[in-house]
Symmetry: C2
Subunit: 192 residues, 2 copies
Amino acid sequence: MDRVDKQKSSAHDRLLAAASRLFYEKGIRAVGVNTIAAQAQVTKATLYAHFGSKDGLITEHLRAREQRWRCDLERFLAGHRDPASQLDAIFAAYRAWAIADDFRGCGFVNAAAELTDPTHPARAIINAHKHAIRFRLEDLAAAADCPQPSDTAEQWFLLLEGGMLTATLRREPAPLDRAHEMATRLLPTQRV
Amino acid sequence: MDRVDKQKSSAHDRLLAAASRLFYEKGIRAVGVNTIAAQAQVTKATLYAHFGSKDGLITEHLRAREQRWRCDLERFLAGHRDPASQLDAIFAAYRAWAIADDFRGCGFVNAAAELTDPTHPARAIINAHKHAIRFRLEDLAAAADCPQPSDTAEQWFLLLEGGMLTATLRREPAPLDRAHEMATRLLPTQRV
DNA sequence: ATAAAACTATACCGACCGGTATGTTCAGAC
DNA sequence: GTCTGAACATACCGGTCGGTATAGTTTTAT
C-alpha cells in the first residue's frame, strides 16, 4: 500500500513521512521500526543513522508535525483579513480537519497519552505545540481589540480542546461547531 | 513494588486491579500480560482462564473502571442537595482527581488514543462512559430548572472535557477552574 | 469423602521488538 | 582516479510479545 515515492525525496524525508503517517494512524507503540523503514523504502540501518533511536524518530516526527501544523494554520489564516474572522478561521480549520477520512484526533494529545514518561523529550514538543496555539489565540484576540486578550484566549483554547476531543470521540464535527458558537458568544460582551 | 495483597481478594479481582493500575499508569500497549499476571500474583494461565485474551482484559478493565467511576461520582453527588450545587460538584470531583499524584488524565480518553481499531470492543465502553457523563449533566440541568437542559449539558460537557484535557497536559488544575467559571457563567442567563 | 473447579508451576511456541554489525554499492567531490 | 559518505543488503543479537500445553496442587461445595 501507498508508500512514499522513492525518487523525489531523501531518505530522511521519506522516513519522517512514513513515521508521521503510521504513528498517527496506528499509534506510536503499535508501530515498529521495521515497518517504518519498510514503508519508507529504506534500510533499518539508515533509520538509525538519521535518528539514532525510535525515541529520536518519535521526537523528530512530532517536531516536524508541529512545524507543518504551524505552516498550514498560517496559510489558512492568511485568507482572512480582520482578526475577528481569523479567530473564527481557527475553528473552521479544525473543523475541516475533523471531517477528513483519516482524522484520528490531535496527534499531540494522542502522543501524550502514549508517552507516559514525563521526561520524554517529545513531551516538551507537545507542550510547545499547545502553548503555540494558546499564544496565537491571544495574539488574535489582542488584534481584535479584546479588553482581556489573555482571558479570552484561554477561554477559546479550552473550548477548542473540548470541541476537538469530543468531535474525535464521537466521530462527528458537531461538538466543534457547538464550541465555536460558545466561543463567539463570549466575544461581544467583552469587546469595548 | 506494591502488589495487590493476595489473601483478601480473588484472582479475578487482583488481575483487574493490577491491570487497571498498570494500564492507566504506563499505557495499555506498554504493559505486557506477563507483568500484569506477576503483579496480581497469579499465573498467566489464570489470566487467560478468566479473560481469554489481552483484549478481553482491556475491555473488562475499562468496564470495571466505568462502574467504579459511576459509583464514586454518585457518592460524591450524594453530599450535595440541590441540583445546582451538584453540577458544581462534578467539576469539584474532577478537580480533586486532577491534583492527585498518580493523575494521568481521563483513562478512557487515553485508551481511545491507543486503541486505534474502531471496531475494538473497548470502544463501545469508552463511548458509553462519555455518554453517561453527558446524560448525568443533562439530568442535573433539568433538575436545576434549566430551560434547555440538553443544550446546557452539552456546553458543560465540552467545558469539562476541555478543562480536563488541558489540566492533564499542563499538569495543573487551573484550566479546570477556568472551565468551571465559564460553565457557571452560562447558567444564570439560561435559568427562568 | 470425593469430585469438580480453581489455581500453580514450568516450559514452550513463533513472531516481533529495538538495536547492532559486517560488508557492498555507487554517486559526486577533490 | 580515488576517496568519501550515504545508502544499500543481510544477518544477527537478547529480550519480550501474546498465547498455549502439560501437569500437579489446592480449594470448595456437595
